[in-house]
Amino acid sequence: MVGARREAQEHRRAREFEAFTAGAAGRLLHAATLLTGDPAEGERLLVAALARTYADWFRMRGEDPYVHTREELATRFAHHAWHYRRPRGGLLDRLAPQERLVLVLRLYEGVAEEQAAAQLGLPAERLRTVYLRAMATMRSRA
């Protein structure tokens, strides 16, 4: 009884999750690869973040799964920033991990300054400084 209901629920979760991933994975993978620099690392980061979204699927209560996954992605990346500190190639390899994160959130994902600051636990002024520095580095690329 309980087992059958749980099974049906798991089936529904997998179906809805697959539909979501089919639409969102491309953009999220690009963001993850911009962060890590290395495509394989980006993929690993994204799979871990998506797994959390899958596990939280029925707890999100109307929250956008895309936003949930992006937040998880950013949190994981920030938490393991030391792991990504060395440049690994990619477009943003001249930026520090934090600069990469701020640039991707603000510019690529279009997250508002206050939201990004709150999510990363930084004062808004600090976030703005990091953003401007990242921008300047990117524009000085030969």
């Binding site: 997998a14 999750f17 491309g26 993978l29 994204l46 797994a51 596990a55 524009r139």
Partner: protein
């Protein structure tokens, strides 16, 4: 030039860097969703196990307290006997 008050870059510069980020997306591996689901299922199972363990511990604690209380409950002093006189 950076606007010092709002700290915002002119749109032109933002657009320039944004264009740099718009490189072709890496191809999404066909088994990405499958791997995420497998990983996610492990998380769900782990949470379920943790929840069950905590409930079992709580139940065990309640039963233990009940048994201890039942065995150690003091018998009330008989009502029809005068309590011994204590010094006062």
């Amino acid at each position: 030039m950076t606007d010092a008050v709002s700290g915002r870059l002119p749109d032109r510069k933002e657009a320039e860097v944004r264009r740099m980020l718009e490189i072709p997306h890496p191809p999404v591996p066909a088994d990405l969703a499958e791997r995420a689901i497998a990983h996610g299922r492990r998380l769900v199972r782990r949470r379920l196990l943790l929840r069950r363990t905590l409930w079992a511990l709580l139940l065990a604690a309640v039963v233990a307290v009940a048994i201890w209380a039942a065995m150690d409950w003091p018998t009330p002093a008989p009502l029809n006997v005068t309590p011994p006189l204590e010094s006062w």
